[in-house]
Amino acid sequence: MGALTGIAPLAQIDTGDTAWMLASTALVLMMTIALGVFYSGLVRAKNSLNTFMMCISALAIGGITWALLGYSLAFDGDGAIVGGLGHFALNGVGLEPRAGETIPHLVFFAFQGTFCILTVALVSGAVVERMRFGAWMVFAALWSVLVYAVLAHWAFGGGWLAAQGTLDFAGGVPVEMGSGFAALAAALVVGARKDYGRQALLPHNTVYVLLGAGLLWFGWFGFNGGSGLGANEASVLAFVNTILTPACALFTWFVLDLIRGRKVTAVGAATSIIVGCVLITPAGGFISPGWAMVLGVLGTFPCYAVFVLRPRTRVDETLDVLAAHGIAGFTGILFLGLVAQIGWNGVADGMLYGDAGQFWSQAVAAATAPAYAFIATFILLKVIGALMPLRASEHDEAVGMDVVYHGEEAYPSGEGAILVTPESDGEILVANPE
């Protein structure tokens, strides 16, 4: 064994942990694509590509900002509000594990990066069908650093929430409450779609909605199941709870749908899968499977209420990111403060198991993270809005974002299309053979 001391730091790496974290990272990356499918199904056909592209753009923008600056601000050092610049542009992020971890630092960086990307994509749900694509990308870049990285530092990177005892297993603070309350602010600043409240604006493909939600659930096994940062007990608990809570949320939604409209709806089912996954996100590795099932049932009620009530307001928070992520994340963060069990998580007990302080630590997060996400997003969008228009013209909104910003359609017929060839120099040369 003495001969191996030369590579002692690398010897900390556990191949099983690393393998699972590599797989988890890929699963979480897929969630951004799944979200694109889910979101694009929920909007009108003429905006479905643009909606998907907002998620796709998060892959480019979030991936770059995270590598350059976001990761460092989130995970370098344990400053109260933000981390340092020590990992600027991946400086010092190599194959050696971070302190107390068993996976290469690079894998940790990549895993956390997929969370940043997904969260940026989540916020787009508030502003689809009318926000300018360019303004969105500027917003996405700044938001990923100024809001996501800061909240990630608070909850995961040794910031003040973590320091005062807030438990957040897989991102109830930065991902769920961060995106949900940022979405509310974004919807207020960008404003409602011009047809909102006047016309029925319906999902154009409800099969995409179910498919996207199903794939999100699948990806969530990496999201929650990887948040133990290895193939360990916490990951197993979170993984299993990621089956149980959404299952209970799904069933509860069926019952609520039946009571309210006498029919079990598919878009509702898709929604409840996401609600269930979000509910268990902060609590996954901290609460027992039994309590996870209770959370799935009870946690669905406040979310369902916001889903039903929000469209009756003037606030066009279009795809209900607040209800699905903000409210569910808020509920999960608090619930774990009640029912966490040291026998399951080895870390802390909740209020029902004798530690009321844990609940108050959770309550501090539930109060401050939404406030920061809302206020910072509101100011950020006001500033961007002073520099460039945030939304498309009425004409462009009527035509649809796909043609206006991408020069493509989700469902082009090709009828009457005329091929432009280099030789034709823009002149009509060949009629489309179709």
Binding site: H395, A398, G407, A417, I418, N432
Partner: protein, 117 residues
């Protein structure tokens, strides 16, 4: 009797329906069509393939009315569909020889008069 045909922008279809409703014109059919007027052709690019889309999506309204109602229907269609930009569409009025309500066998004026409950 007249058949009033309106070819309008799809995004104005709801406004047209509302205008017709306010003008108390009730029976209406609509279909999705593609057409070409004086609008600029939009260019779309799918990787290496660039095309000019010569046809635009439109919605075609058909309203069969008694002569007295024709001008009301035309005005409602035009008012509901207008944005002021090229591509707002057209309204055509053509004479209608005969109309039959299938359920009752009523014909002509009676057939195009809405059933009042």
């Amino acid at each position: 009797m007249k058949l009033v045909i309106g070819i309008v922008r799809p995004e104005k279809a709801n406004d047209v329906l509302e205008a017709l409703y306010r003008a108390e014109v009730r029976g209406v059919s609509l279909s999705r069509v593609q057409g070409h007027g004086g609008e600029l052709e939009r260019v779309e690019t799918y990787r290496g393939t660039t095309v000019k889309m010569g046809l635009s999506e439109k919605v075609r309204f058909e309203v069969a009315v008694s002569d007295a109602f024709a001008s009301t229907a035309v005005e409602a269609l035009a008012a509901g569909a207008r944005t002021g930009e090229v591509g707002d569409g057209k309204v055509f009025v053509v004479p209608l020889e005969q109309a039959v309500r299938i359920r009752t066998g009523e014909s002509d004026e009676a057939a195009v008069t809405p059933v009042v409950k």
